[in-house]
């Protein structure tokens, strides 16, 4: 079909050079092939910081208070649904459900079973025991998943009746809220891969160790001479460990137990190098509720419920120890 353009092509060919001499300038076909540099480094969890920002100095540790000492139960537990009038317990029974602030991200302590969507774990079961004592029914309970930073706020403003969320009792927090007696003793340890040969924090000097952003764990591992790497959620630490981006994860063994349970190639090693007594946080305005919860804890320590729950959830930390002993300040 081009033949009819023959004259045109002749004319065009004749003068193309004249007309387009200035505009032409192509020659890309013989250009060298480009050379691209693309990153090959492993992907990073969102919000990862390497090195981590180490929180400023420890909260005033020189205080003379015993964070483990709580309020003594006032006699035996009342029968379910028959709470003394005008108490926090009576108001909860009146409402028909116990509202508890929990974690939904700590595997084995408070997490959502991905298969059922239900909250479950050691903390959750402890909270259910309290609901059982109040209502005679462990399901009369409403969980509110809260973040670590909101724990004190939701207790103080009454959003929840109590917080059962891997919460360490210390004198600083005691000024804001009341705590039950100790229901679990945690301590900072390290999680490493089984083949690493690492047995203590001393071997991690100069190596990258992961912990959650803003946690006291970061401060402890920084003091031990490691390079702290921080992430938003604890599970991100396990991702980093699996991707060889860190050598170890270090925090409370309660959390490490949950990580170790998700990857059989990892293990919790070394001695505890911090003492973290876990308590249930309750508003300072409800001392009667604190005494009630302590009575419930006394009961589950003595009737074997505590050991049963420990074995159900925390087997990766070894066989169940004796339940923590209750200490009282009155």
């Amino acid at each position: 079909m081009m033949s009819r353009h023959l004259v045109g092509r002749l004319l065009a060919g004749l003068l193309t050079v004249v007309v387009t001499a200035g505009a032409a300038g192509c020659g890309a076909d013989d250009a060298a092939l480009p050379d691209y540099q693309v990153p090959a480094d492993p992907p990073r969890p969102v919000g990862m910081r390497d090195p981590a920002v180490v929180p400023s100095s420890a909260p005033n540790a020189s205080e003379s208070c015993n964070p483990r000492a709580s309020l003594r139960p006032s006699g035996a537990l009342p029968p379910p649904r028959q709470m003394p009038p005008r108490t926090a317990m009576a108001r909860i029974v009146q409402r028909g459900r116990l509202v508890v602030g929990v974690d939904q991200n700590s595997y084995q302590f408070g997490f959502r079973d991905p298969l059922t969507g239900e909250l479950t774990g050691f903390d959750i079961d402890i909270a259910r025991e309290i609901a059982r004592s109040l209502f005679g029914d462990p399901d009369k309970i409403q969980f509110r998943a809260i973040s670590s930073a909101d724990r004190i706020k939701v207790v103080k403003d009454g959003t929840v009746d109590m917080v059962v969320r891997t919460m360490t009792m210390n004198c600083e927090r005691w000024r804001e809220v009341s705590f039950s007696t100790e229901y679990f003793t945690a301590g900072q340890r390290i999680l490493v891969t089984r083949s690493s040969g690492i047995e203590s924090i001393a071997q991690l000097r100069g190596k990258k160790v992961c912990a959650a952003d803003g946690s006291t764990s970061i401060r402890n591992i920084a003091e031990a001479g490691t390079i702290p790497v921080s992430v938003v959620n604890w599970t991100d630490c396990l991702v980093l460990l699996q991707q060889n981006q860190v050598v170890a994860v270090s925090t409370d063994d309660s959390i490490l137990a949950g990580l170790a349970a998700q990857d059989p190639n990892t293990q919790v090693v070394g001695p505890r190098f911090s003492d973290e007594p876990y308590g249930i946080a309750i508003a300072k305005t409800s001392p009667e509720l604190v005494r009630f919860v302590n009575a419930v804890l006394e009961k589950i320590r003595s009737d074997g419920t505590w050991t049963r729950l420990y074995n159900r959830w925390l087997r990766s930390l070894g066989p169940a120890p004796a339940p923590p002993k209750a200490q009282y300040r009155d």
């Binding site: 065009a12 003068l15 540099q37 992907p43 991200n105 991905p114 298969l115 969507g117 239900e118 973040s147």
Partner: protein, 450 residues
């Protein structure tokens, strides 16, 4: 006569012949021009040269323009579509994987299929885009090519852990989503912007006014008129038919040249205003919707640690529909909509985005109260008022509008090409007429002097 030397010397009183002066040579060369036939020949040569140059320039120009217009449709337009597909497929993959995690353990097969479709679409579009782009934006294509397998690896790891009921799955999902948002999507956005800029540049080139050819045309016309005046003065004949034909052909050629260029430019402008500009706005809106959808799901999947995703949701929803639900990209698209189907689709999208915001508040209220299961049901449960159902209607309305405007773009760009149809043959014929008219008309006068 003896020798030559003595013969010269034998001529007395005659001085030696001086060498010719330069001006003498020039005068001798231009001598014919002082006479009418010589001048006529020179004028004819000038007119022929100008006519030839004009015709050839017009012809080359119109052929180049046709190529450029074809480039707008078949290259730049297609490249834009491919870049848009890449950006959309990647955003869609991000939204779909997050949604799939809301269903416990076993993701719905249709979501899995859609995710696989997205990956395939993204890879195919990336191949097209890589082949077509060069320079700085090509390194963005290389980055996507390098990171896409890493992304899909993370997604599969997440899926495997999720199937085992381990929270680790969510951590991998978040890492995958972070990679998508921090590296892949910005690179895809860069490619999309480059393709969009290339289309605009190609369109500008194709719509340029043929200045050189127009000037040559005017000069040719001027020369023809002067030739005619000269002939009239010299020959006392009022009109030279040959020159008249030549002048008419030049006027026609110039008119055709300008008209075709202006028409093509107008169609190209329309292909932007009623096509690709709309398509760009709608595509941006669609991608904002996909990101908001991903954020909503990720907030839920993060199980109480999703505040950052919720914040991002608020940001992209405001981009999508503005603070009042009728602004943002959708508001812009509505204001720019130049026809009923587009306006209707955008109105649907605005209504759905408003409904989505309301349903989303419900989901957040449930999740913030710790009623995760109910929040999930309000997101992906049965019924047509879940956020997933509302989102799907929004996405579909935008997708239809994008396809529709894509077709409009193609139609207008094709019309631009059609405005140039036949111009090359016509230009050749008219050029021949210009030349033939001038030659025949003037040759006769020149012959009269022989």
């Amino acid at each position: 006569m003896g020798s030559h030397g003595s013969a010269v010397a034998a001529v007395p009183g005659r001085s030696v012949v001086p060498p010719p002066r330069p001006w003498t040579v020039l005068r001798r060369m231009t001598a014919p021009l002082s006479q009418t036939p010589g001048r006529l020949t020179a004028i004819l040569a000038g007119v022929v040269a100008l006519g030839l140059l004009f015709g050839a320039t017009a012809l080359v120009g119109v052929r180049q323009r046709a190529d450029l217009v074809r480039g707008v449709t078949v290259r730049s337009g297609e490249l834009l579509v491919a870049a848009q597909n890449l950006y959309r497929a990647l955003s869609d993959a991000d939204a779909i994987t997050a949604s799939a995690f809301l269903s416990n353990g076993l993701e719905p097969p249709e979501l899995r299929e859609r995710y696989q479709r997205d990956l395939a679409d993204a890879a195919a579009a990336l191949t097209v885009v890589s082949a077509a782009t060069d320079g700085r934006s090509a390194s963005a294509a290389a980055r996507i090519a390098a990171r896409l397998p890493v992304y899909s690896g993370l997604v599969e790891t997440a899926r495997t852990y999720n199937r085992q009921g381990l929270p680790l799955g969510v951590a991998y999902l978040q890492e995958a989503s972070g990679l998508m948002r921090d590296e892949l999507l910005p690179a895809a956005r860069e490619l999309y912007a480059a393709a969009s800029a290339e289309l605009d540049a190609a369109r500008d080139r194709a719509a340029g006014f043929p200045w050189i050819a127009t000037l040559l045309g005017l000069t040719t016309l001027g020369a023809l008129v002067l030739a005619q005046l000269y002939l009239t003065r010299r020959t006392n004949r009022l009109l030279n038919v040959g020159l008249l034909v030549s002048t008419g052909a030049a006027v026609l050629l110039l008119g055709w040249l300008i008209a075709s260029a202006v028409a093509a430019a107008a169609y190209l402008q329309a292909s932007r205003d009623d096509g690709s500009a709309q398509m760009n706005l709608l595509a941006e809106a669609r991608i904002a919707g996909l990101q908001a959808r991903a954020d909503e799901a990720l907030t839920l999947v993060a199980r109480g640690n999703g505040a950052a995703f919720e914040q991002h949701y608020v940001v992209v929803m405001e981009q999508l529909a503005g603070a009042d639900g009728a602004g943002g990209l959708l508001g812009e698209a509505l204001a720019a909509a130049s026809d009923q189907p587009t306006r209707q689709a955008v109105e649907t999208a605005i209504a759905q985005s408003t409904a989505w915001s309301a349903a989303h508040r419900q989901v957040r209220a449930l999740d913030d109260r710790g009623e995760f299961t109910e929040a999930v049901r309000a997101t992906i449960g049965p019924g047509d008022q879940t956020t997933a159902a509302i989102f799907n209607r929004l996405d579909e309305a935008l997708a239809q509008a994008i396809t529709y405007n894509g077709e409009r773009f193609e139609r207008k760009a094709t019309s631009a090409g059609r405005a140039l149809t036949g111009a090359d043959v016509g230009f050749v014929v008219l050029t021949i007429l210009i030349l033939a008219g001038a030659v025949v008309g003037m040759q006769r006068r020149i012959m009269e002097y022989r």
